[in-house]
């Protein structure tokens, strides 16, 4: 109970906002016309022709699709490394580089250094460097390596999060601080690892710490000052969750008063997770932002009877007020750490003869969901990996039917739970090509054994209560896969088997080429229509970063990716862990004990181009 009081005491104290150095002078660099995020007057359209890459997801719809066509299925074979740049950091590099105004921006894992590289000069020399110096102690509360998923650009400003819960705005031309907002507290287990989304006058950011009994939130900051405009918690009373009169969930199971309190044991919502460490999309016509909430805490589900709202689900909120408009829960009363924070791709699809505004979500629980993004109605939910943990999704009630024989009980080992905790797919985002109509999904093929254990809440330490060990799905030798999925006909079109889990992002291009990386360090280009691997290059370390493509100052198309193994899946390499313990690295020691034999750590940026 002391712990709960401590939490309560910190909960609001930590909201203190530190602003300094609000730039007096206006930024020297003006945004190119393509950066419509700068003004909010238009949308960053899919396939923005400017050739820049201003958000990790490329556009508000999160397509990660580029309209550039110089690199095609026939020219891709001539790709070669043009520039490499060592980040000087050895942890897992999950970020997407950004390219704006002939400058490339890279944010590293802790200590979260931001580099600006001048693409107009030979070798892309350093333009400026910014070191936010988050304390080393913050590393002790980062669940799965000290990763960072990238920065965002708008209107002459680079926005990113430092591990110690600071959102930082930098002048994109000079690297000078514009403002710093301190939003959380490491002593409570909070960190920040996600990439912000900048829309209109807001910067949207969320916290990490679902394995530390953190109470999750999404916060909107004023883009110019860093002041909090609104904060929406993922648990607790409706007023904290910003649930009001506009809230109309599609399904009965998500309706009711203060469900963020009543679907938990007393006070458990205060340490219940639902963090917001993944991806945010935005639909300008509905003025709605979409984002997922993490797993509830602790993992041991017996300690939190109830549906545990609003964890492991997706919110649609009004951008300006933060009010919730709808919510859908992928995994009510999550049993297996089916963390619900993956990307949502906003597209219009022809479904049963009608054009529907949908949201595509490859979810951790193994289902590929297509939702109506105006209402939250589930149009389809199809397995894309082997699933034993559930029997399907009931489209009438919206509820997933969990398999009773796989229900975890403390002290009992439940075997062959598929997918395992890292899910059919973890955080690493998919891409969508309007040209092929396919979703390109880098993902896992993992199952697990799970034993629930009693978790104790001690602020600042993990709150999990489970021993897990992962392994390749029975009957399969590959632990990962890169696949193309047809969201209209609801089927896998092709796939490339990978020995290790595919933990990188991907990019799709109008040249009908898709790029992704492997944990051994191969950077691969595949034919977007057939899945044939057309070209590959072995980088210095395993790839878990997000590739991008852009038009350089010379008018040519380039592809860039960060190499540098780590993250949850690469933890045994980064931490030099002992794989005789199968539960090391949160269960990945059992799944990838051979990773140390095929790669070593080290962050390096690679830029590829045609001759």
């Amino acid at each position: 109970m002391t712990a709960c009081r401590t939490i309560a005491a910190f909960a609001f104290a930590a909201l203190s906002l530190c602003c300094r150095g609000t730039a007096a002078k206006s930024p020297t660099a003006t945004a190119p016309p393509a950066n419509s995020a700068a003004t909010g007057s238009a949308v960053i359209a899919a396939g923005d022709p400017s050739g820049d890459w201003v958000l990790p997801a490329k556009d508000f719809s999160s397509t990660r699709y580029s309209a550039l066509t110089e690199i095609t299925t026939s020219t891709v074979k001539q790709l070669g490394a043009k520039v490499t740049f060592s980040t000087g950091v050895n942890a897992g590099h999950e970020a997407a580089p950004l390219v704006v105004n002939n400058t490339m921006y890279v944010v590293t894992p802790w200590p979260n250094i931001v580099y600006a590289l001048d693409l107009t000069k030979p070798g892309a020399p350093l333009k400026w460097k910014y070191a936010p110096k988050p304390p080393s102690a913050a590393r002790g509360v980062a669940c799965c390596d000290v990763v960072n998923r990238g920065a965002a650009y708008a209107d002459g400003t680079i926005y990113f999060n430092a591990l110690d819960n600071r959102t930082i705005a930098l002048d994109a031309a000079t690297g000078e601080e514009k403002w710093i907002a301190t939003l959380g507290e490491i002593n409570r287990g909070e960190t920040m690892t996600m990439a912000p989304l900048v829309v209109k006058d807001k910067v949207l950011v969320g916290n990490s710490g679902g394995e530390f009994g953190v109470r999750g939130w999404l916060t909107a900051l004023d883009r110019r000052t860093g002041k909090i405009a609104w904060r929406a918690y993922s648990t607790g009373p409706d007023k904290d969750v910003l649930i009001g009169s506009r809230f109309k969930p599609f399904y009965e199971m998500d309706r009711g008063r203060d469900l963020g309190v009543s679907t938990w044991p007393p006070d458990a919502w205060k340490i219940g997770g639902g963090t917001v460490w993944g991806w945010i999309s935005y639909d300008p016509s509905l003025n709605l932002v979409y984002y997922g909430t993490s797993n509830p805490g602790p993992w041991n589900p017996e300690q939190r009877p109830g549906d545990n709202k609003w964890t492991a689900g997706i919110f649609a909120r009004d951008l300006d007020s933060g009010e919730a408009v709808w919510f859908y829960q992928w995994s009510p009363h999550d049993l297996y750490d089916y963390d619900g924070i993956n990307e949502q791709i906003l597209v219009d699809l022809q479904i049963n003869g009608a054009t529907r505004k949908v949201l595509i979500r490859p979810e951790r629980n193994g289902y590929m969901y297509v939702l109506d993004r105006a209402t939250g109605e589930v149009l389809s939910a199809d397995p894309y990996v082997p699933i034993t943990s559930s029997k399907g999704v009931d489209l009438k009630t919206g509820r997933i039917a969990m398999a009773p024989e796989k229900d975890p009980k403390a002290g009992i080992v439940v075997r062959e739970i598929c997918p395992g905790s890292p899910g059919g797919k973890d955080w690493n985002p998919s891409a969508f090509s309007p040209q092929t109509g396919l979703v390109y999904v880098p993902h896992n093929m993992l199952c697990m054994d799970f034993e629930g254990l009693e978790a104790n809440y001690i602020a600042g330490t993990p709150y999990v209560g489970a021993d897990v060990k992962f392994y390749a799905a029975p009957g399969s030798k590959n632990r990962g896969e890169f696949m193309a999925w047809d969201p209209v006909n609801r089927r896998k079109v092709w796939s490339i088997a990978e020995s290790f889990p595919v933990w990188s992002g991907t990019v799709a291009t109008a040249g009908d080429v898709v790029f992704y990386g492997t944990m051994e360090g191969w950077f691969k280009a595949a034919n977007a229509r057939t899945g044939e691997v057309l070209w590959q290059f072995k980088t210095g370390s395993g790839i878990i970063g997000q590739p991008i493509t852009y038009r350089g100052p010379d008018g040519k198309q380039y592809v860039a990716v960060l190499s540098g193994v780590g993250g949850w899946s690469g933890g045994i390499v980064v931490g030099d862990l002992d794989t005789r313990d199968k539960t090391a690295a949160g269960g990945f020691a059992n799944a990838v004990p051979d990773l140390k034999d095929v790669t070593t750590k080290g962050g390096m940026l690679y830029i590829f181009g045609l001759p």
Partner: protein
């Protein structure tokens, strides 16, 4: 008659050996308060090497104390970061590499004071004798306690070789990682 004598003899031998299995005093909890010497963090010392302090956990030879340490290792969420010795957020403890020293006193200080790269300080949160039980268990993970004192098999999912058969017995513990 001869057979009975032999049996008695054998039983007596077993009995005597069994008595040597572990040594335990009833005063460990008082003893721990007296240990205040500080261990250096490095084998590199100005003026030449200094022998190890030789400080041991009072539970070093105490199977019950080590076993309690194992239970506390889960209770205080040590396992949340170090898993079952293989590591995760924090380093592995069952191997032979130590960032902040392998001696009992080093491990004691690591738990009590924390370390700057993520290890929290448990000062004033855990009774001193429990810290020493944890120290003894952490040393058991890397085979630094007598083999018959280390915990045997447990009743959970098989996740690692049992502590007594962790094959680092006699391996030199180092400061590198």
């Amino acid at each position: 008659m001869m057979r009975v004598a032999l049996t008695c003899c054998a039983l007596a031998t077993i009995g005597l050996v069994a008595c040597e299995r572990e040594s335990r005093s009833f005063h460990e909890r008082q003893v721990v308060a007296a240990r205040a010497e500080v261990a250096t963090q490095t084998p590199l010392t100005i003026g030449g090497p200094v022998p190890p302090t030789g400080t041991q956990s009072p539970f070093q030879g105490n199977a019950v104390g080590v076993s309690d340490g194992k239970r506390l290792f889960a209770t205080y969420n040590c396992s949340g970061c170090h898993a079952n010795g293989g590591g995760g957020i924090g380093p592995a403890l069952m191997d032979d590499q130590w960032i902040y020293g392998y001696e009992a006193r080093n491990i004691y200080e690591t738990i009590l004071e924390g370390r700057p790269n993520g290890m929290p300080s448990f000062r004033n949160k855990i009774p001193d004798y429990q810290v020493w039980q944890l120290v003894a268990y952490v040393q058991a993970m890397s085979a630094q306690v007598p083999i018959d004192v280390a915990p045997g098999r447990d009743e959970h999912m098989q996740v690692r070789p049992a502590e007594p058969i962790t094959p680092f017995k006699g391996r030199k513990q180092t400061g590198h990682r």
